[in-house]
């Protein structure tokens, strides 16, 4: 480690700062502020910005450490990996802790999806800042634009953003509206049973007062998959739970929440008694609910054509 006592050279300093800043900007771009309002604002967002900044700093340090022949320092990348896995673990743990106090549960599948996304966003930051630093270094080595520091920064930042958009496209999640349609379901109460459009949902509303409440204030939606193979995704309990969760997060929940699938034709019912009764908002929530990665199945990769059970 002969270089340990040297002062870092201005080129490397510039390189590290540029790459870190670009990586941090990318992380802040990838924190989406939409109706899900997750991560929470302001503290949750700040936490993720800072971990993103650290991730991009790690990405930025790779080039200078290699250039100064500090090969042993590359082992800190394993540390980085550890840190990102920690991000996922912490995210999962905190969501698990919240499970008992939310209106409805997120469900383990959804939590897994969320925490994986947070981990991968950190990798994106790291890769972007690495790409930025690499571009800057290459421009320096091949003596292109060496006299124009400002332009060098712009060019390498541009490369960083291109990498970001490529990765963003690659990791892009789909939404329920890509595979299904949603319409309002008619609530019918037959004795202590709740039916929506003739689909049995539950018989747990034995109380007269509950039945009245459901008739007056209940909301029910019918979700129909566009293609037969999307049933596998939509009928997954975790996916249904995620849709229910996002709806109750926005509309609130007074009492009773049910999801049920009609096994014959693949219609899915989501019914509950919201605090704010607004079907349009409910529909919007359902359509924009994310498709969970671990539930998603690609029919192309399964091979052959997919038919409904019983049909040959």
């Amino acid at each position: 480690m002969e270089n340990n006592n040297d002062v870092i050279s201005p080129e490397f300093l510039l390189l590290i700062i540029t790459a870190t800043v670009v990586g941090t900007i990318v992380r802040s771009l990838s924190i989406k502020q939409d109706y899900r309002q997750y991560p929470n604002y302001p503290n949750g967002t700040l936490i993720h910005l800072v971990t993103g900044a650290i991730a991009s700093a790690l990405g930025a340090f790779i080039i200078p450490t290699l250039m100064t022949k500090n090969f042993t320092a590359v082992t800190f990348l394993t540390l980085a990996l550890q840190q990102f896995r920690e991000v996922r673990k912490v995210e999962r743990e905190s969501l698990m802790d919240l499970e008992k106090n939310e209106f409805t549960k997120r469900g383990n599948t959804y939590i897994d999806g969320i925490s994986k996304t947070f981990e991968s966003r950190n990798y994106i930051s790291l890769l972007v800042s690495f790409a930025t630093a690499l571009t800057m270094q290459l421009l320096n080595v091949y003596e292109i634009l060496t006299d124009y520091t400002f332009i060098t920064i712009i060019v390498s930042a541009a490369v960083g953003f291109i990498v970001y958009f490529l990765l963003k496209n690659f990791t892009k999640g789909r939404k329920v509206k890509d595979i299904a349609t949603v319409r309002e379901g008619k609530i019918e109460i037959k004795g202590s049973e709740l039916h929506v459009e003739g689909i049995f949902v539950t018989n747990l509303i034995g109380l007269k007062i509950g039945q009245r409440l459901f008739e007056e204030e209940g909301l029910a939606a019918i979700i129909e998959p566009n293609e037969i193979h999307y049933r596998i995704t939509l009928e997954h309990f975790g996916q249904r739970q995620a849709m229910l969760f996002e709806s109750t997060r926005v509309l609130g929940l007074k009492r009773y929440n049910y999801t049920f699938q009609n096994l014959r034709d693949g219609r899915i019912v989501i019914a509950f008694i919201p605090i704010i009764k607004d079907f349009d908002l409910f529909k919007e929530c359902l359509l924009n609910a994310p498709l969970i990665e671990s539930v998603k199945k690609s029919p192309r990769l399964m091979g052959g054509t997919v038919k409904a059970g019983g049909q040959q």
Binding site: L204, L207, F237
Partner: protein, 62 residues
């Protein structure tokens, strides 16, 4: 689905159904009293009520 269900109480008007056992069992006079009792129980235990087709009510928690 993995939802754990437990039966907390049985409410019935039919004495022949009142056999004892693990869940608490109530014998009531009529539908009116059944409605009142199940309502109070459901409130207190934060549970749901299911009326079986045979007329009995179960207080269920999941």
């Amino acid at each position: 689905m993995g939802a754990e269900v437990s039966i907390l109480a049985l409410v019935t008007t039919d004495k022949s159904r009142y056999l004892g056992g693990d869940p608490l069992a109530f014998l009531v006079k009529d539908e009116e009293e059944m409605e009142q009792l199940t309502f109070s129980l459901a409130r207190a235990l934060m549970a749901d009520v299911v009326q079986l087709r045979t007329g009995e009510c179960l207080v269920i928690k999941r």
